[in-house]
C-alpha cells in the first residue's frame, strides 16, 4: 500500500521537468505568438524595430545573434578542441587530473563576470588597437568564445577518452604517429560527442544574455564590420522587458518564442547525436 502511494507520488514528481518545459513553452507562446499574427510574419521578420511606432521587426537582431554566435564558435571551437585533444591524448595523467576540473570549474563563473572583464579589458583594448567603439561583434565573439570553452572541452574530452584503447594500439602497431592516430581514428570515432559539444556550445552562445549586453554595444542596426556595435535577440529582451507594456511586451515574448524554438531544435539535435541514455 505504502509502496503504491510512493510510486504514484514519484511518478507525479518525475513529470516536474517535462511539465515545467511545457509550462514555459505555453506561457512564452501564449504571450508572444498572437502579436506575430497581429502584425504578420512579414513585419515580424523585417528590419524595423521601433516599439513606439508599433514596429516589431526582429531581423537585425536575428542577424546580430547569428554573427556573435558564429564568432563565438570561430574562437571557441579551435581552442576547445585543441584543449580536449591535448588533455585526452598528449598530456600525462597528472596534467589531465589537474586541468580538467579547473576548466570545468570555470563553467561555474557567472556570465556577468565575463561581461565585466569584457568591459574593463577587452572593449578598451579593441578601441585603442583596432578602432571603433570597442563595444562590438568582435568583443562579444571573444567573450562568448571563452564562455563556451568549458562546454566544448569537457564533452569532447569525455568522448575522446571513451574511444577504446585497442583503436590506439592498433594504429600505433601499424606505425602511425600519435597525431595521425588522432586525426584519422580518434576524431572520427569520437565524432558524435564532438559535434554534440559544439551544438551545445552554440546553444549557450545564442542564449547568453548578460555578458553580451555588457560588451555588444546594443545599437539597433546591422553591423558592417566586426568592429561595429551589435544587438542580439537576448539583449533586446533583457534591455526592454523592464519597462515594456502591451504590444511591446508581447513582441519581446515573441522574440523569446523564436529563440526558444531555435534552442530547442539545437538541443534535440544534440540529444539525438549523442544518443544519450539509450
Amino acid at each position: 500500500m505504502k509502496d503504491k502511494i510512493a510510486e504514484k507520488l514519484l511518478l507525479v514528481i518525475a513529470f516536474s521537468a517535462i511539465g515545467s518545459l511545457l509550462l514555459i513553452t505555453f506561457f512564452i507562446f501564449q504571450q508572444g505568438i498572437p502579436l506575430i499574427f497581429k502584425i504578420g510574419l512579414g513585419n515580424f521578420f523585417s528590419m524595423h524595430w521601433s516599439p513606439t511606432r508599433g514596429q516589431f521587426g526582429i531581423l537585425s537582431m536575428i542577424i546580430g545573434s547569428l554573427m556573435v554566435t558564429v564568432g563565438a564558435l570561430v574562437v571557441g571551437i579551435p581552442f576547445g578542441l585543441a584543449c580536449a585533444i591535448y588533455l585526452a591524448e598528449f598530456s600525462s595523467k597528472m596534467v589531465q587530473k589537474t586541468l580538467k576540473p579547473i576548466i570545468e570549474l570555470l563553467a561555474g563563473i557567472p556570465s556577468v563576470v565575463y561581461g565585466f572583464i569584457g568591459i574593463v579589458i577587452l572593449v578598451p583594448f579593441i578601441r585603442t588597437h583596432f578602432g571603433g567603439p570597442g563595444f562590438s561583434v568582435l568583443a562579444s565573439s571573444i567573450i562568448l568564445g571563452i564562455m563556451i570553452l568549458p562546454t566544448i572541452v569537457s564533452i569532447s574530452y569525455d568522448s575522446l577518452i571513451a574511444v577504446p584503447n585497442t583503436y590506439r594500439e592498433g594504429s600505433y602497431a601499424l606505425g602511425a604517429t600519435k597525431w595521425q592516430t588522432v586525426v584519422k581514428l580518434l576524431i572520427p570515432a569520437a565524432r558524435s560527442g564532438i559535434v554534440a559539444s559544439i551544438i551545445l556550445g552554440m546553444g549557450r552562445a545564442i542564449g547568453e544574455t548578460m555578458a553580451v549586453i555588457m560588451v555588444a554595444g546594443n545599437a539597433l542596426k546591422i553591423p558592417h564590420s566586426i568592429l561595429d556595435s551589435v544587438r542580439t535577440l537576448t539583449s533586446t529582451i533583457a534591455l526592454e522587458l523592464g519597462y515594456a507594456t502591451g504590444d511591446h511586451r508581447a513582441a519581446l515574448f515573441a522574440c523569446g518564442a523564436f529563440l526558444f524554438i531555435i534552442i530547442t531544435i539545437l538541443n534535440i539535435i544534440a540529444i539525438r547525436v549523442t544518443g544519450r541514455r539509450e
Partner: protein, 280 residues
Amino acid sequence: MTFRIGPRTSQIIAHIILLLMTIITVVVLFFIIGYVFKNGFAQLSLEFLFDRTREMGKEGGIFPSIIGTLFVTVLAIIIATPLGVGSAVYLVEYTRGGLLRRIISFGADCLAGVPSIIFGLFGFIFFVIQLKLGWSILSGSLTLAVMIIPTIIRTSEEAIKAVPLSYREISYSLGGGKLDTILKVVLPTSLPGILTGVILGIGRAIGETAAVIFTAGSSLGMPTSVFSSTRTLAVHFYILAREGISMEKAYGTATVLIIIILFVNFVAYRLMHRFMERYY
C-alpha cells in the same frame, strides 16, 4: 615544387600547437579570475560585507544582497531538491526503458539547455504577473528552482545508478519493501552523489542574473519576508558594472561572488570525486 611534411615532423608541430593553445586557454581563464581578485581584494572588509548599501551602491556594503542571495538560493534548493531527486529515483528505480522514461529524460535534457533569459521571461509572466507574487524572493526562487531541477536530476540519476544492485537485493531478501529499500539503502548510499548535484545547483543559482532580475527585482532594501523584492549579488554586480556606478564596489562584489562560487564548485568536485572512487 611541393614540400611534404613527414609524419614525425607533423607530429611534433601538432604537439607544439596543441600545447600552446591549451596554455593560452588556461592562462586566459586564470587571468580572468586573477584580474578580478587583484582589483577586488583591496575592497574587501568587514564593513563592505556587513554594511547596508548606500547611494545605489556607490557607498556602503553589500549585506542586503548577501542576505537576498542566501534567501533566494536556499528557497530554490528547498523547492528543487525533492523534485529533482524524486524524478531521479523514479527514473532509475521504477522505469525500465520504454516511452515514459524517454519522455522524462527528454524533458530534463531539454530543460537543461533552455537559456536563462527564457526562464526570466517565464518567471516574469507566470510567477510575477499571473500568480501575482510580484517581484519577490519567492518568484525568484521558484524560477531558479525550475532552472536547476535538470542539474539535480542528472547528477542524482548517475549517483543512484551507481549503487550496486546487490545492495538492493540484500534489502529485499531481508524483507524490505521497495520504498524501504529506497529510503534506507539506495538514498543513503548515493547521498554524496546527490549532494554534488544539489551543490552544483546552488552554484548556478548564486551566479544567475537574467532569470533573477525580472523575478526577484532589484530592490536594495533588506528583505523581510519571501514576498520582499531583493537584489542578489550577481544582479547588484551587474548593475554596478553596467551603469558604471562604482568600479571599486563592482570589483569587490565580483570577488565575493567568485570566491563563493569557486568554493561551492570545489566542494561539489571533492564530494563527487570521493563518491566515484568508492563506487566506480
